[in-house]
């Protein structure tokens, strides 16, 4: 349903004003202490102007690092249980990259697979995404290898592509249209632009469908152990990943009260699969690393008919020991089955 418009740089101010007037919080990448991170903004001037990617992904808008699921108090003879009603603030995510916008689909697949997660859904319902096409990419990027692209509109309600004097605005969804309707005057009818010419060039690095087909056959390959020799088993990759969805449920309680929290977790941790008996089915880092790759490229397609990776490269950038996912996938694709 993509309708194409032109949006001038100047009109962004009014758009932000209109969004805020509509009671929406605007989250956008900002520069802070040399880092680009997602934060609430009021005006377009606050938005980072020249950035490749934020360090963390946009997933925390819908799936925060710690959230309360329920709480309770214990009085003599009774327990008073209180369900947490998710705080869902109408939010517009402005300026996220197409890869991240696309990633919400991967999160949705898990949170609405069999059990419908009310916390995630409440936030998603209130969320609109204004994506921003990439005009540059780095060595970590490989969106085009996983079905995306620097100007891919999947997941964006409105996708902006920078061009001279402003943006090309593709209104992709009803949520997008609703935003347009808040300030219809700002969206000038525009003609198609050759997006490929303006946006970044990201070469396809490997044949993903072939890799996905091959993976079950190379489960025992040494390539995983070899690649993981360098891995120190922290959770940086998972925590910055826009699609990583694993969480841990923690109960914090004392004799009088308690609460149940959902916290990000990572399959890279030794503790992740550690059994109470002391047995660990993924005893070595190689097995944990393999799990990460397989989950995204084998189990996800198998279960949800989609990939669990959007090729954003955040994991590579965040990794303290430079585990380059693209490079490792190319290597795996080359392994003889």
């Amino acid at each position: 349903m993509a309708n194409t418009y032109n949006l001038s740089h100047e009109s962004l101010n009014s758009l932000f004003g209109a969004l805020r007037k509509d009671g929406r919080r605007i989250m956008a990448p900002v520069e802070a202490g040399g880092r680009t991170e997602l934060a609430e903004v009021e005006t377009p001037a606050q938005v980072a102007s020249d950035y490749l990617q934020t360090i963390l992904s946009a997933k925390e808008v819908a799936f925060p690092k710690v959230e309360r699921l329920l709480s309770y108090t214990i009085a003599p003879g009774q327990v008073d249980l209180k369900d947490t009603e998710p705080k869902a603030v109408p939010t517009v995510l402005f300026g996220v990259r197409p890869c991240e916008a696309k990633a919400f689909g991967a999160l949705d697949a898990v949170f609405n697979w069999d059990y419908r997660d009310k916390f995630f859904n409440a936030r998603i319902e209130q969320l609109a995404v204004i994506g921003l096409s990439c005009t540059k990419a780095d060595e970590a990027c490989f969106c085009t290898s996983v079905g995306g692209g620097p100007a891919d509109a999947t997941g964006s309600d409105i996708l902006l592509t920078p061009k001279e004097g402003g943006y090309l605005a593709e209104v992709c969804t009803e949520k997008g249209a609703a935003i347009l309707n808040l300030a219809p005057d700002l969206f000038k009818p525009g003609n198609g632009v050759d997006k490929a010419a303006i946006t970044a060039k990201v070469e396809q690095a490997f044949d993903q469908p072939a890799l996905t087909t091959k993976l079950p056959g190379i489960f025992e390959s040494e390539v995983w152990t070899d690649q993981a020799l360098r891995c120190i088993g922290c959770g940086a990759c998972a925590f910055v990943c826009p699609t990583c969805v694993c969480f841990d449920i923690q109960e914090e309680a004392d004799p009088k009260k308690g609460e149940r929290l959902r916290c990000w977790d990572s399959c890279g941790f030794h503790l992740f699969t550690l059994h109470a008996s002391g047995h660990n089915p993924r005893e070595v880092q190689g097995a944990r690393w393999r799990q990460r790759v397989y989950h995204k490229f084998s189990y996800y397609p198998e279960r949800y008919d989609m990939l669990g990776c959007v090729g954003c490269g955040k994991c590579t950038r965040a990794c303290p020991v430079d585990m380059n996912l693209k490079e490792h996938l190319i290597e795996a694709a080359g392994v003889k089955a």
């Binding site: 710690v66 959770g235 303290p320």
Partner: protein, 266 residues
């Protein structure tokens, strides 16, 4: 570099070691840790100013120990970390070939005693940049420091990159992973982050070799290394001990002097 690589090749070819742990070219300008396991791979190893990581974090990993004897290209911080690991009985003499690199000079060492002697010749302590950062922190008021750290730590998500990148964090079961009782909350909320970083700092006080790896590893740029640096420096000031300097364990927090000087105990 050539001399190191030459020697590494020799050792690999003779079968005296199973791998050489050094640095290789990584994504962009980054240098990454690299295991060269065949003589032919040795040429991939590079050694330049961009090589920063403390490679000692690998030598206690059972995946790495399983490879067999390894030669480590060890910059000064790596050397100190290996010595401290030896003092803490995590490595035995002869378990590693330490190719100690200091500027142009290369020395082949394989025992704690040799490392101690080697390191004794070098100045220890923080460089000017880190000293300045600590001084900045010191110059703040107590309230400012509190706000500063709460701001910084609010970004922490407990990915444990700081812990896992630290050569001294080799514990099989980290105290953070102990849950009976769960002294430190798992969640990365305000109190959970404060307690985690307090514990991490206390656990490294007297053991930190001041390589700064934790700060470099942090994906969200929290200067966590300043905490362990401050602890280590205060130990050096108060007790004159330094981690990574002695072959025999000299842990400031399991030794004492009857006349340790403090002024705050009423």
């Amino acid at each position: 570099m050539e001399a190191v690589n030459q020697r590494a090749k020799e050792l690999l070819e003779k079968g005296e070691i199973k791998a050489v742990l050094g640095y290789a070219k990584g994504t962009g300008h980054v240098r990454r840790p690299h295991f060269a396991r065949k003589a032919g791979q040795v040429d991939q190893l590079v050694l330049d100013a961009a090589c920063l990581q403390n490679l000692a974090v690998y030598v206690t990993k059972h995946e790495v120990k399983k490879l067999g004897k390894v030669a480590v290209i060890a910059l000064p911080a790596t050397q100190r970390a290996i010595l401290q690991l030896m003092a803490e009985r995590q490595l035995r003499d002869g378990e590693l070939v330490i190719l100690a690199v200091d500027g142009e000079a290369v020395k082949e060492l394989d025992s704690a005693a040799a490392l101690e002697e080697h390191l004794a010749l070098k100045a220890q302590g923080l460089d000017a940049k880190d000293k300045a950062l600590l001084a900045e922190l010191d110059a703040m008021s107590r309230e400012q420091r509190w706000v500063y750290w709460q701001n910084e730590l609010s970004r922490c998500m407990k990915c444990y990159a700081c812990r896992n990148s630290c050569p001294m964090c080799y514990c099989g079961t980290c105290t953070m992973d102990c849950n009976r009782p769960q002294w430190v909350p798992v969640a990365s909320h305000g109190i959970g982050n404060l307690e985690y970083h307090a514990v991490r700092t206390m656990h490294l006080a007297g053991r930190c070799v001041e390589c700064g790896e934790c700060g470099r590893a942090c994906p969200v740029g929290i200067p966590v290394h300043l905490l362990t640096f401050a602890a280590e420096e205060s130990i050096h000031e108060q007790f004159g001990q330094r981690a990574g300097a002695k072959a025999k364990l000299d842990y400031a927090l399991s030794t004492f002097k009857t006349d340790d000087k403090e002024s705050f105990i009423r």
